[in-house]
């Protein structure tokens, strides 16, 4: 086996295992993926928690995110500063929330944050329009987009303020059994 350089201490591993849905080997694999984005920036030894953040541009070049229309929003949601610069902890957090064994509630919360483009804690009409445009990449005309937005908000809004709060969003998602399987990124 040779000279094994430790990447994380045991305590760090235990903390990761308790706070995320990953096991030891997966954390190491994630570290490898994080490191290969910028090998000269990211050290191999993370035992003293170096404060290194990778920019948005590097992260959205990952094959898992490259073609995703929401890649910018996903990375921004999990970044601490909201600009998309992820430390390794944020990186792990992102893939843990999007993994297969993640809980429905966690996924719903983060999905709400991702789709909330203007970050006002509501999915308003503009947010929905942006979402639909990203989804369909210009296949729908602007009138159709507006119509879809209006109808969707009408369907899902429960307390009648013409935008979706987290409670409305959660209620709608709870009726969609496919959400758990589609809101899943394999790493």
């Amino acid at each position: 086996m040779g000279n094994k350089q430790t990447t994380f201490t045991d305590e760090q591993f235990e903390a990761y295992q308790d706070c995320t849905f990953f096991t030891r080997k997966e954390i190491l694999r994630l570290h490898g993926r994080y490191r290969e984005l910028a090998p000269h920036l990211v050290p191999l030894d993370y035992t003293n928690n170096p404060d290194i953040k990778l920019p948005l541009t590097l992260l959205v070049s990952m094959p898992e995110l490259k073609e995703n229309p929401f890649r910018d929003r996903i990375v921004q949601t999990f970044s601490e500063d909201g600009q998309g610069n992820l430390s390794f902890n944020d990186f792990v957090d992102m893939f843990s929330a999007l993994c297969e064994s993640s809980s429905r509630e966690l996924k719903t919360r983060y999905a709400f944050k991702i789709y909330d483009f203007n970050r006002d804690n509501f999915i308003c009409k503009e947010d929905m329009e942006k979402t639909i445009n990203k989804l369909t990449k210009g296949e729908l005309t602007p009138e159709e987009v507006t119509l879809v937005c209006d109808k969707a908000i009408e369907e899902a809004d429960l307390d009648g303020d013409s935008k979706l709060s987290f409670a409305d969003f959660e209620n709608m998602i709870s009726k969609a059994p496919d959400f758990l399987s589609t809101f899943h990124v394999r790493i």
Partner: protein, 827 residues
């Protein structure tokens, strides 16, 4: 269904709203108190005062941070920033506040923007208090009750214990302390689950965890009684073991890269087929290990006396027919001995030294119990996975919010290939357009003639399907009879051994051909039909396919168990169980061969044909439902055959492995992503249910019937000489009673519970009652959901009412100083 309770902008209504606290004093007594107090306050409220202070400190607006820990001042500042924005954009204030036609006062806006519903989920403090409430509930459920003082008080009893933390006087740090102490008091697994589910960043969660662990360390250990200490250590050790087991499983990475590639290119639907294959592989692996360990290995180590006839040499045809060289090997039932292995002394000798030759091994008993236990465990695993899958995908009420769901839930995040992503966008756009058209369209009632026409078309299609199924079943029945007669009558039998072997393959080939061709006919019949929705079409197709397979298997089982088993003597069959085992082996193999042929012809050649000859770029689409039903059919055969061929799970494993790679290659080369939407989780639930109900249940019923009623053959197998296979168990119990009189209770229990059919009736009755109760519970829950939705709408109304009142109060306050200054009198 969400009612769009819009605000009436009628000024008369607004005025009426303003007047209501005065008018309806009896009802809104508490509110009028509050509002009266509010309006009497000369200086602004605490919050507003604080905000005014901070306003001077603000330099510039910066973007809101999301997960940075905020103190209440920062929270208010955040609110203020938002509040500041609104008055600046004067023209847009009306657009932003759909609640009223007029403009909001900035004070109202400030209060509005710090409402819990706008900060929950973003503010760290709100998340912590929410999880504090949750851990409190969990503790109460787990019986480690907190003191009454810790419970939050609220003016509305209905909100007690719900998400909203109403005690705003608590600082953030105190809330965190409460949460940490609650987490400490939970069990380790609950704590980990809570931590994992919290929507905070990993750094914050590990900080919380560190605090919890530190607090634990600081508690003197001697105070905790040693048995709970021991329990604690045991639990920690168990968790470590569980994590290392999970790590090991993940490191195996069975096909992980291939599955990711398929998911990345074709999406969740096609991926679910391969995941189902993987699940079946694990089931078969389990069966193979159990039978291998308890049946095959002991028998292989102690082979029985070689039979009188010469051993047949190995020729290649054995792999196809399963006979010849294999017929007298560990593979089939007939090879297994009916005595206790390794027992050199008979029962009558007392003081028999068993240790002389190692452990003795009662083969018939082992056979009986191994098969029984493996079926029982498989049943438990199946029911558990079915219920879990059901729980995830079953929804009590029909959802009306199709469009919203389509927008938010239809993007498959697993797809990473560019062309597939483009295809998916196109699909989603088409579906949205279709949904819009549906919504806009008024569904005209079809005229009577149109309805009648549709009905006739449906009847015709169903007649075709049922007719062809019945025809094929009869064909199989007569063919099997013919083969039976051929074997019975040695004169009509050809002397050529090759022909004889080929005759054995006739029925399997015909059945596989039927399974291949008839679904195509069903598809053609369905093509002319009109369905309300594509999911109904899929369900009907699955049902027809299932009906075909179930009837064919039913006829075959009748032949094997009803005819061959009973009339084995006349046929000159030494060992009907081995023969049935061989038949099942042949069926399994032919099924595999024809699936491979279908993949080659249906997908590969079709793609070449359509590209070269038709010059179209439309590749064939992978038919998920049909392929999964094929898998289920193969698995049913394997389960049917375990009793007669203990090595059949091994054959099935090899078949599944080969099938995986062949199908994977074919899909990547030849197919394109599906165009129609595929509800992966619902379909997975259906497939697991189909695996459990017709497939596994049918196999269990057949095996139980075989064990219970059919006489085993007299000259081969572990149960020769007995009346039924179950008798082996009875004999063992009696033997036990003889050897050890203290175990008489076991024998009596056995005779009352297992032998007595009354017990089974009672058990079935209890199950039915339980099912009835659960259906009633579901009905009750539906009613509760309707009530809760009404309550949410009412709360929405309340909120609007309060906001209006707040606004009117602020307006009055604003107007009063002006009035005072105008009138120039004491106010």
């Amino acid at each position: 269904m969400a009612r769009n309770v819009g605000f009436d902008q009628n000024p008369h209504y607004l005025e009426a709203g303003l007047e209501s606290p005065v008018d309806e004093e009896g009802v809104h007594d508490s509110f009028s108190q509050l509002i009266a107090e509010q309006s009497q306050n000369g200086p602004p409220s605490d919050t507003a005062f604080e905000l005014q202070e901070l306003q001077r400190e603000l330099d510039e607006e910066d973007r809101d941070n999301m997960s940075v820990p905020t103190t209440p001042e920062q929270e208010a500042r955040g609110g203020l920033r938002r509040g500041r924005r609104y008055p600046e954009r004067d023209g847009e204030a009306e657009q932003l506040s759909p609640l009223m036609g007029g403009r909001w006062s900035s004070a109202t806006l400030r209060v509005l923007s710090s409402m819990p519903s706008r900060t929950i989920g973003r503010n760290r403090g709100a998340i912590i208090s929410q999880y504090y409430n949750r851990t409190m509930q969990l503790r109460m459920r787990r019986h480690s009750r907190p003191s009454i003082r810790d419970l939050p008080h609220s003016s509305r009893p209905s909100l007690r214990g719900y998400r909203v933390e109403l005690d705003y006087n608590e600082t953030d740090a105190r809330r965190q302390d409460h949460l940490v102490s609650n987490l400490q008091n939970l069990s380790v697994s609950d704590r980990v689950r809570m931590l994992q589910a919290m929507p905070l960043s990993v750094a914050e969660k590990s900080q919380l965890r560190r605090q919890v662990l530190q607090k634990e360390v600081s508690h003197p250990r001697s105070q905790i009684p040693c048995c709970s200490q021991l329990k604690y250590y045991v639990i920690i050790a168990a968790r470590q073991a569980w994590y290392s087991w999970l790590s090991f499983l993940h490191s195996l990475q069975l096909w992980q890269v291939a599955l990711k590639r398929v998911g990345g290119r074709f999406g969740t639907g096609v991926l679910s087929y391969f995941l189902f294959l993987k699940t079946l592989l694990f089931f078969n692996l389990f069966l193979f290990l159990v039978t291998g360990l308890f049946l095959v290995l002991p028998q292989a180590v102690h082979p029985p006396k070689p039979p009188a006839q010469k051993q047949v040499a190995f020729s290649g045809l054995e792999l196809l027919t399963g006979g010849g060289y294999f017929s007298d090997s560990v593979m089939y039932y007939g090879y297994y001995s009916d005595s206790t292995l390794n027992q050199m002394c008979s029962e009558s000798q007392a003081g028999c030294d068993h240790a002389q030759h190692g452990l003795s091994y009662n083969m018939p008993l082992a056979y009986f119990f191994t098969i029984g236990m493996s079926f029982f465990i498989t049943c438990i695993i199946l029911v558990y996975s079915m219920s879990k899958s059901f729980g995830q995908s079953f929804r009590i009420e029909k959802s009306h919010s199709m469009l919203a769901m389509k927008v938010f839930c239809s993007w498959d995040f697993k797809v990473i290939k560019k062309s597939s992503v483009a295809l998916m966008s196109e699909n989603i756009a088409t579906q949205l357009k279709e949904l819009l058209a549906d919504v806009n369209l008024n569904h005209d009632n079809k005229t009577l003639s149109q309805k009648l026409c549709r009905l006739t078309v449906h009847c015709l299609a169903w007649t075709i399907c049922i007719g062809s199924t019945v025809a094929c079943v009869l064909a199989v029945h007569y063919l099997a009879d013919h083969m039976h007669a051929l074997r019975e009558n040695p004169m009509r039998n050809t002397s050529d051994p090759l022909m004889r072997e080929a005759n054995l393959l006739a029925v399997p080939v015909v059945v596989s051909l039927i399974n291949l061709l008839l679904p195509g006919l069903f598809n053609a019949a369905a093509w002319m039909e009109e369905y309300e929705s594509p999911s109904v079409r899929t369900y009907v197709a699955i049902f027809r396919n299932l009906m075909l397979k179930v009837s064919v298997l039913g006829v075959l089982c009748y032949h094997w168990l009803g005819r061959e088993a009973v009339a084995s003597e006349t046929m000159g069959l030494q060992c009907w169980e081995s023969f049935v085992g061989q038949e099942l082996y042949r069926f399994l193999l032919m099924d595999f061969v024809f699936t491979v042929l279908d993949t080659l012809l249906g997908e590969f050649l079709w793609r070449l044909f359509s590209e070269k000859v038709l010059k179209k770029s439309r590749r064939p689409v992978f038919d998920i439902a049909r392929n999964v039903l094929e898998l289920i059919y193969g698995q049913t055969l394997a389960w049917l055959g375990v009793l007669f061929t203990p090595l059949l799970p091994g054959v099935q494993i090899i078949k599944l492995l080969l099938l995986f790679y062949i199908k994977m290659g074919s899909v990547m080369l030849n197919c394109q992503a599906p165009r129609k939407p595929y509800r992966a989780s619902q379909m997975t639930t259906i497939f697991i249910t189909l695996l459990c109900f017709p497939s596994f249940l049918g196999a269990t019923v057949c095996v139980t019937y075989t064990m219970w009623s059919i006489t085993p053959s007299k000259s081969c197998g572990p149960f020769r000489g007995l009346n039924t296979m179950i008798q082996a168990g009875r004999l063992w119990v009696e033997q036990l009673k003889r050897v050890n009189p203290r175990l008489t209770w076991l024998a009596t229990a056995h005779s009352y519970l297992v032998e007595n059919p009354l017990f089974l009736f009672v058990a079935a009755g209890v199950f039915l009652i339980v099912i009835y109760f659960n259906t009633q519970v579901v009905g009750g829950q539906r009613k509760i959901i309707a009530l809760l939705q009404e309550q949410i709408e009412n709360e929405g109304e309340d909120k609007k009412f309060l906001i209006r009142q707040l606004q009117s109060t602020h307006e009055k306050k604003r107007n009063r100083p002006r009035q005072c200054s105008r009138q120039d009198s004491a106010c």
